[in-house]
Symmetry: C2
Subunit: 339 residues, 2 copies
């Protein structure tokens, strides 16, 4: 591959001049510029981005750490983030940490040591101390959508008001007239709640309305369609007269709809089902899934802006990077209870 100085030699100038014509900086005579450009095209020269990154002290890349890409929410987020990043002239390195905190650390380590200019951490399995270590090293880090309650980390973060999301779901179901409601939620292998805030927001709102949920109306499983299927199957098999099921995630809700079908219960006539997030699949189900949208695209864009501003401006004020309020999306999977 030809280098800058190959071009310079052929053009009878120095690398500085060639560099200038390439980036439109400094001042070069129109004649030389033309000659240089011709040679570049002729020998097919392309700047080496690694060398440029080293010289400039920064790479045109941002890293996004996500845990499992198996959840369709992540691709949707990543896509929006990538488009936003690209608009700002940056690559987005998507790193899948799976469920292993050590893989996460390995990525964090490499990514924060020159491969990227900043880190967007969405993977819930990252260890706080690892994140802090990286941030302390001067690497811009932004946390996105960390729902689990944990010690407040000393770095910028963008959070979604999931508590309100849970509340909106409860209000919708209550308004339709449901009083006997099941809850399908997700727990990790270690038993910790994955969707705490929506979970709590939902229960709190029901309680305010005088509706209480017995433990037998709550079921946990993995945050997948299959998990929702199993959980809802258990719930609905208990003959507890449930007229509605709220799942803390769309994936779980889709599984719940399938469980209803498997038991011969029609949605929404016999049973209402709703979720949270509004992934693309939600609108494509039959019936289409009623859900609470959290504004995935807007959140992704804000998080990129926040990270980029943090990189360019150093410290920034968190307040300008707000997240849209959750909004109820009424579709076909909810209706008044039967009778």
């Amino acid at each position: 591959m030809p280098t800058l100085s190959d071009v310079a030699q052929r053009a009878g100038v120095t690398t500085a001049t060639v560099s200038n014509v390439i980036r439109g900086k400094g001042s070069v005579g129109p004649a030389t510029a033309e000659r240089v450009r011709a040679i570049i095209a002729d020998i097919g020269y392309r700047p080496n981005l690694t060398a440029r990154a080293l010289a400039e002290g920064r790479a045109p890349t941002l890293a996004l750490l996500v845990s499992s890409i198996a959840n369709p929410f992540y691709p949707e987020f990543a896509r929006a983030a990538e488009q936003a990043a690209r608009r700002e002239g940056h690559f987005l390195l998507v790193c899948h940490t799976e469920t292993d905190a050590d893989i996460g650390l390995a990525y964090l380590d490499r990514v924060s040591s020159g491969l990227s200019e900043g880190v967007l951490a969405m993977a819930g399995n990252l260890r706080p101390q690892d994140l802090v270590a990286v941030a302390d090293r001067g690497v811009p880090v932004v946390l996105v959508m960390w729902e689990q309650t944990r010690e407040a980390l000393p770095m910028h973060s963008l959070t979604v008001d999931f508590h309100t999301a849970g509340r909106l779901a409860a209000e919708h179901l209550l308004a339709l007239g449901h009083r006997s409601i099941g809850l399908v939620s997700a727990k990790t292998a270690e038993g910790c709640l994955v969707h705490v805030q929506r979970h709590c927001g939902f229960l709190a709102t029901l309680a305010e309305a005088g509706v209480s949920l017995p433990d037998t109306s709550i079921e946990y499983d993995r945050d997948t369609i299959g998990g929702g299927f199993r959980a809802a199957l258990d719930l609905l098999s208990r003959a507890n007269g449930l007229t509605a099921v709220f799942a803390t995630n769309d994936l779980l809700a889709i599984g719940a709809m399938q469980a209803a079908a498997a038991l011969g219960r029609r949605v929404p006539q016999d049973l209402s089902v709703m979720g949270v997030t509004d992934i693309e699949l939600a609108a494509q189900m039959r019936p289409a899934l009623t859900t609470v949208a959290i504004g995935t695209v807007a959140v992704a864009e804000s998080s990129i802006r926040l990270l980029l501003d943090k990189i360019r401006l150093g410290s920034v004020h968190n307040e300008q990077y707000s997240t849209p309020p959750p909004v109820l999306i009424r579709r076909g999977s909810t209706a008044p209870p039967p009778r």
Copy 2:
């Protein structure tokens, strides 16, 4: 951020020695090694990967170019590819070219100029001449799953036998006794067939069995659930006595199942539906989707191996990197025709 020479100074040695202890190369006295390690830990030194890449002449990254991540197949492929790459000590830079060939070119340009050591091109929208230009520049490029018929490009590629996939689907449907079959396929905006080979394999096999498909039994739309829904709705509304629908993709097939439901036709009792690919969602549908699996994970792993070998060995023989033969996955969405 501390650098190699910061460490060297504090340890009273030179950068060469520090570099050696870090990479376990050369030979350093156990005492110095220990001292250096302590200092590294103490000041939190992390090697700058950009500088290392420049010095070594290669980056520990591979790039994967995909068109639209909206199709759940891509995340599944990317995930498998990433895991394979990671096992080999490489990052995988996932680049979404969307549908724009110019975005694809921009990525190709940057990625092939130092940001990555090789390119895995899956995006069907990449211009052949752009690919050739990059390959000519000496960048290892591997093509994966290019189904559309196009001029054979002078570079390694890994193809899946989609023709057989189409054949398997036809054989399955014929064996069940179906004779009146509909075909749902995908076309781009410019009208060119996206899934040519499966399409042809399917039709050829039907023809051999003496079953012909009138044009009115074929419908095209975008390669999405919604597209499959629309196409199948049109097809089924024509009252042409169809007992089965073959979709050239699982996404389309899922849409077709929903269309059947919308028309009150039960799957598989009234109508059989099947697809191709075996995306994760296929097994999660109710009924679960019968499909032809193409071995996504195996293909992803082979493509990474092929690319890595090409990088390490220079030229390689294509034959060792085969793709598994497509296999029929019988599930609940197909059954003998009614009556």
